[in-house]
Amino acid sequence: MRFGHLSRSSIIFSFLIISLTVILGITLYEAYSVYISLQESSIQPLPRRTSIQYVFSKQGSSNVFFAEVRSISLSTSGTTITSARITWYRRFPIWIGYYVTVKVSLKDDYGNTISSGTSGTVCYIGSGLVTSDIDLVPDVNIDSVARVETSIDIGGVCWELLLTVEPTESIDESGEEQA
């Protein structure tokens, strides 16, 4: 079979080339037509902040000379942290007092302090739980806080023996101070 001047082999080759081009064309179309569909409900939320660290401070050296944090609670207004409530226990001799300062600092992912506050220095004697409400300045969003650090600094000896109880504290019958 002959078509004009074309030989049989040329026709077959042309047919193969045309077929290959069509197949490649379809493949090309399919390749560029890849569509990825994502629906919000079908995938898990992505992490922005997965963890927070709290540091509980403890200072002292013996059974009659130590102070330790028992509880850290952040006060928030919406997602803004305004203050912290630290509940801590101290055990000092009943005949001598020590100045104690409680501090709180909030740190971001890079270890930078973004907010902080201190309770002020107060003289304490004896033992008991103490609650310290500490204002944090400036106010920060809770989602930017990676680490909450407390510190209890036991300072020098104080002699304000009977004037050690803060106005916000009371003493129950067991001798434990309560907020």
Binding site: I17, L20, T21, L24, G25, T27, L28, A31, Y32, I36, L38, E40, I43, Q44, P45, L46, P47, R48, R49, T50, S51, I52, Q53, Y54, V55, F56, S57, K58, Q59, G60, S61, S62, N63, F65, F66, E68, V69, R70, S71, I72, S73, L74, T76, T79, T87, Y89, R91, S127, I142, D143, T150
Partner: protein, 128 residues
């Protein structure tokens, strides 16, 4: 001429198939508002620890955390206590969290000594 066309077609196919999604970080998927992919923040409002006694050489026996999430859903929450060389951990599985803090309490098995300069508690939450 045919060969050149054929090569061009093959190159086009190669480019098409190599145009896969290249994502260096998975969070890029939700990087724009055009693609609504939720992101969550675990929020730990408070942590309390229970100790074995009001003595210097006491141990951390249990922990209570108040935790919330910016994105409502079920989460696995883990708390890890590190004090000195000691590490203790506890977890809560399939806990529903939303913006309202939820209190979770658990005893600790290792009961690490609570020694100066103190202990670090890390609370972690991931979708269940």
């Amino acid at each position: 001429m045919r060969t050149i066309i054929l090569i061009l077609v093959l190159l086009s196919i190669a480019v098409a198939y190599s145009a896969t999604i290249i994502v260096t970080e998975i969070s890029e998927i939700g990087g724009t508002d055009a693609v609504k992919v939720s992101k969550y923040n675990i929020r730990v409002i408070s942590i309390s620890i229970e100790v074995s006694g009001n003595v210097y050489n006491n141990r951390i026996t249990s922990i209570t955390v108040s935790v919330a999430s910016s994105h409502p859903g079920y989460y696995n929450v883990q708390a890890t206590v590190i004090s000195g060389q000691c590490t203790d951990a506890t977890s809560w599985t399939n806990i529903y969290l939303d913006s309202t803090p939820r209190s979770l309490t658990s005893s600790l098995s290792n009961q690490c000594r609570y020694t100066p300069p103190g202990a670090t508690v890390e609370v972690r939450g991931v979708p269940a």
